[in-house]
């Protein structure tokens, strides 16, 4: 597992209070991990803080699964 994926999953586990084994690449924040829309905004804010990047609104809208977040953040922090 890449470093980015690990950091993303840690944030998701902490923020949503879900078990780590449920936080797989294909897991949808809202449908699979029980997030509400405000949670997804907070996750994006947490990712921004952790990775020191800015995630514009139109990009944030495309981040719906754990894998989406890992992919986006890997491309930014590469």
């Amino acid at each position: 597992m890449s470093d980015v994926a690990e950091r993303v999953k840690k944030i998701v586990v902490e923020h949503l209070g879900v078990e780590a084994d449920k936080v797989v690449d294909g897991a949808n924040f809202i449908e699979d991990l029980g997030a509400d829309s405000l949670d997804t905004v907070e996750l994006v804010m947490a990712f921004e803080e952790e990775f020191g990047v800015e995630i514009p609104d139109d990009a944030a809208e495309t981040i719906v699964t754990v894998g989406d977040a890992v992919k986006f953040l890997s491309s930014k922090s590469a």
Binding site: D36, L38, E42, M45
Partner: protein, 245 residues
């Protein structure tokens, strides 16, 4: 009860009569207060009166960039923000039929749009810390209407709807959003009334007196307190009974 020790508050329009009273009360309850306004001298005088636990954050609320910078500035100077009081307001009264577009726009910009931008900025860090109190100062006019104040009444009514929507969104984050709606309050504006006008107003107020800034400030302090944590999306009318709604 209602102890605000350790809390950090931003009050807009703090150089006005009402804003000054609100800042004084929050400060007296123990909060550190960022006072905002356009008149630097008046801000400095108020800060000197407080002595400690006060910072000055000048801001022109009709300027977008100035508004966007205010919450980050206050957060930086105070080391966070727990309480936002959107108090600043202006009037540009005229009969509706004579109300100019620019008088409509400027009243909406300062009284409603600035409150929107400040609340949007404040709620971001409040969400992170899972605590926040946002209080907007509305007016009885926002519920009852008033001749000559179509723009002002619209803005004040707008604050109520906006606060309810935001309250519903952030309640799960332990953030409350409420409105305090004053009636007739002693101010330079009401002091300019002649005896007959004053009598006319007082005949509508069961309490038989105009309100004081401190009456309104006490309501704000309550809604800003930890104890008011289960009160959200509400409008608290402070009007001596002139409108029981």
């Amino acid at each position: 009860m209602f102890d605000l020790t350790g809390r950090k508050a931003l009050v807009t329009g703090a150089t006005g009569g009402l804003g000054g009273a609100i800042a004084r009360t929050l400060h007296a309850q123990g909060a550190s207060v960022a006072i905002s306004g356009t008149r630097a001298e008046a801000l400095e005088a108020l800060a000197a009166e407080f002595g400690e636990r006060v910072v000055i954050a000048p801001c022109n609320l009709s300027d977008k960039d100035s508004v966007e910078a205010l919450v980050p500035t206050a957060e930086e100077k105070l080391g966070g923000l727990d309480i936002l009081v959107n108090n600043a307001g202006i009037t540009r009264d005229n009969l509706f039929i004579r109300l100019k577009d620019e008088d409509w726009d400027s009243v909406l910009a300062v009284n409603l749009t600035a409150a929107f931008r400040l609340s949007r900025a404040a709620v971001k860090s409040m969400m992170r810390r899972r605590y926040g109190r946002i209080v907007a100062i509305g007016s009885v006019v926002g519920t009852m209407g008033n001749p000559g104040q179509g723009n002002y009444a619209a803005a004040k009514a707008g604050l109520i709807g906006m606060s309810k929507a935001l309250a519903a969104e952030v309640a799960s984050r332990n953030i409350t959003v409420n409105v305090v709606a004053p009636g007739f309050i002693e101010s330079p504006m009401t002091q300019a009334l002649n005896d007959k006008q004053r009598e006319g107003i007082l005949s509508d107020v069961p309490m038989g007196r105009l309100g004081e800034g401190a009456d309104v400030a006490a309501a704000v302090a309550f809604l800003a307190s930890t104890e008011a944590g289960y009160v959200t999306g509400q409008t608290l009318h402070v009007n001596g009974g002139m409108a029981m709604i």
